[in-house]
């Protein structure tokens, strides 16, 4: 199976637009494809399909529960905790766990020599399974509002990908930090979606720096072509980076997207184009394997 992540440094360049349209085009062409919405802070992909939820499971972290009766207030757990999640005032015999700061690493339990720490699960979010046209093809990571990091939930969603499918499309969170890295490092190829504006170019450069560091093959889709300026084209050309496709800016496409519809559904040309992008990537990855 091939995993393709759809990512961008800058938010709102059209990741979900590209991910949902590619996924639709693959399904239309009878490719055994899965869509994984890894943008756990703002998951939107399911809204573009007629879905039926078929299952779900909760993602949790284990946080410590301190039994104040056995606790000697020695402070060892506080010392072991690298995230300042244990608040302790020994003279006052006060010890508290700040659950929001806890990463669930278990270091405090290891530190405690008095058996004063047990653990309880705390919910971080949910992984949902949906079927589209009666096929179980959509996985969604959805972080609970108020949780600090989307990473555990999106990692749990990625783990659910059935390797028997032909292609998995991973809709990545924006940015170039940890949530992005977790998504792209699980993928074989990354499509970076950008727009031809100074902000778009700056964030694209940062994404590409990151992908080069982890040695991940990638290509670029320029969305809203026609807006902005030509700097991005010059830069891509000078750096010998492939442009996989351009999607022109049009009020019509923006309108279709705004209603939760897919351009590849209303315009066959787009379906063919998005389908071909995947074929091209497949070829590219094959060539790369042969080169090695």
């Amino acid at each position: 199976m091939i995993k393709i992540a759809i990512a961008s440094g800058k938010g709102g360049t059209g990741k979900t637009f590209v991910a949902t349209n590619i996924f639709h085009s693959l399904m239309q062409n009878n490719v055994d494809a899965i869509l994984v919405d890894c943008d756990a802070e703002a998951p939107n992909a399911a809204a573009f399909f007629k879905t039926r939820q078929t299952g779900s499971f909760e993602v949790t972290k284990l946080v410590p529960v301190i039994n104040a009766d056995s606790c000697t207030f020695c402070g060892k757990c506080h010392e072991y905790c690298n995230f300042n999640a244990i608040f302790i005032l020994p003279p006052m015999k006060i010890i508290n766990v700040i659950e929001d700061l806890c990463h669930g690493c278990g270091a405090c339990s290891v530190a405690c020599r008095y058996d004063a720490i047990t653990e309880k699960p705390v919910s971080l979010g949910i992984v949902k399974f949906y079927s589209v046209n009666d096929k179980p093809v959509l996985i969604e990571a959805r972080m609970n509002v108020g949780v600090m990091s989307p990473v555990p939930v999106l990692k749990a969603a990625i783990k659910q990908i059935n390797d028997k499918a032909e292609i998995a499309i991973l809709d990545s969170p924006p940015g170039t930090a940890c949530p992005f890295i977790q998504t792209v490092s699980a993928s074989d190829y990354v499509i970076l979606v950008t727009e031809p504006t100074p902000f778009g170019l700056s964030d694209l450069k940062q994404s590409i720096d990151t992908l080069k560091k982890i040695d991940k093959p990638f290509g670029v889709i320029i969305n809203r072509a026609g807006l902005g300026n030509k700097d991005i084209y010059k830069w891509l050309k000078n750096n010998n980076i492939a442009i996989l496709a351009e999607v022109p800016f049009s009020q019509e496409i923006a309108h279709i997207y705004s209603e939760g519809r897919l351009i590849a559904d209303s315009d066959k040309n787009y379906e063919i184009q998005f389908y071909n992008i995947c074929n091209w990537i497949k070829q590219e990855l094959n060539d790369e394997v042969l080169m090695k």
Binding site: A47, Y80, G106, A107, M148, T176, D203, S258
Partner: protein, 289 residues
């Protein structure tokens, strides 16, 4: 000090363009770019006399193979699936490592060292409308919430030092830790949304995060005329939830043209409908008790 945070839930709705426009309306301000993953305001404002500080975003475990006996004890303790063993050689996956230190503490051979990630930076400098503070998280690093806290702390110092009472915080997308760090303790939160189903969905989650801190955000619907029906729906949802719609901004290519020229819409075209509307929204926001 009056602090106004601009956030969005969904990315690309126009947070930065709108915050930057607010910053160039009148008087001098401090503007803080809290989108440390993808900082952009410095491109627009080209700050001078920059100060730079480094920021340790976390730690990574590194094995010293001269000491490692390959016992594999660390594998059992790691809860982040970061450690594996291949042919008796223990390997730590840098990407999965959470930097919790546990493996380094339990290693009987003392073979694991924790190395700080110190490539991220905090900057502050001046631009023609005041001061700009921003952070740049090194690619792939985590804990952007902590860097946002550092940006907030620096912003406070700068505001006091230069006697600038108005602070604008341009937030990151999403609703996670860096967003919470951006809105903690501010006077007003503006959520910028767009008339799409994704925009509304993410607006609801962003509003929830603000409501959790017992405050009411106000909402700007950007590019409202791209789908007037969706705009109505968003309006209705806001009304039902007692959230004020501060204003509607139409779609205009001039927003992009301004950015290409390195200007805010206010600097680019003062009398444009968008400029006038943003000015009205800003005055209302800043004067609202």
């Amino acid at each position: 000090m009056k602090q106004i945070a601009v956030i969005s839930g969904k990315g690309g709705t126009g947070k930065s363009s709108i915050s930057a426009a607010f910053a160039t309306l009148n008087g001098e301000v401090v503007i803080a770019d809290c989108d440390v993953d993808a900082a952009n305001l410095y491109l627009l404002f080209k700050p001078s006399d920059e100060e730079e500080e480094s920021f340790i975003s976390g730690y990574k475990a590194v094995i010293n193979y001269e000491k490692c006996s390959g016992c594999g004890l660390c594998l059992n303790y790691c809860r982040f699936d970061a450690i594996s063993s291949q042919n008796n050689r223990v390997i730590i996956d840098e990407i999965s490592c959470d930097g919790c230190f546990l493996c380094s503490r339990i290693c009987p051979e003392n073979a694991i060292k924790m190395v700080p990630n110190d490539k991220s930076r905090l900057y502050s400098g001046s631009f023609k409308n005041g001061r700009l503070v921003y952070g740049r998280l090194a690619p792939g690093e985590e804990n952007s919430g902590k860097l946002v806290n550092m940006v907030r702390e620096k912003t406070k110092q700068v505001s006091e030092k230069f006697d600038l009472g108005t602070v604008i915080l341009d937030g990151p997308p999403g609703i996670g830790c860096p967003v919470i760090s951006t809105i903690t303790g501010v006077d007003k939160v503006i959520i910028v949304t767009e008339p799409t189903i994704s925009g509304l969905h993410d607006l609801k989650r962003a509003a929830e995060i603000v409501l959790k801190s017992d405050r009411k955000p106000s909402v700007i619907i950007n590019k409202w005329d791209l789908n007037a029906e969706m705009t109505d729906q968003i309006h209705e949802w806001c009304n039902q939830n007692g959230i004020k719609v501060a204003g509607l901004i139409p779609f205009d290519k001039k927003m992009v043209e301004a950015m290409v020229q390195g200007k805010t819409i206010i600097e680019f075209d003062k009398t444009n409908v968008i400029s006038m509307e943003l000015k009205r929204i800003w005055n209302e926001t800043i004067n609202d008790k």
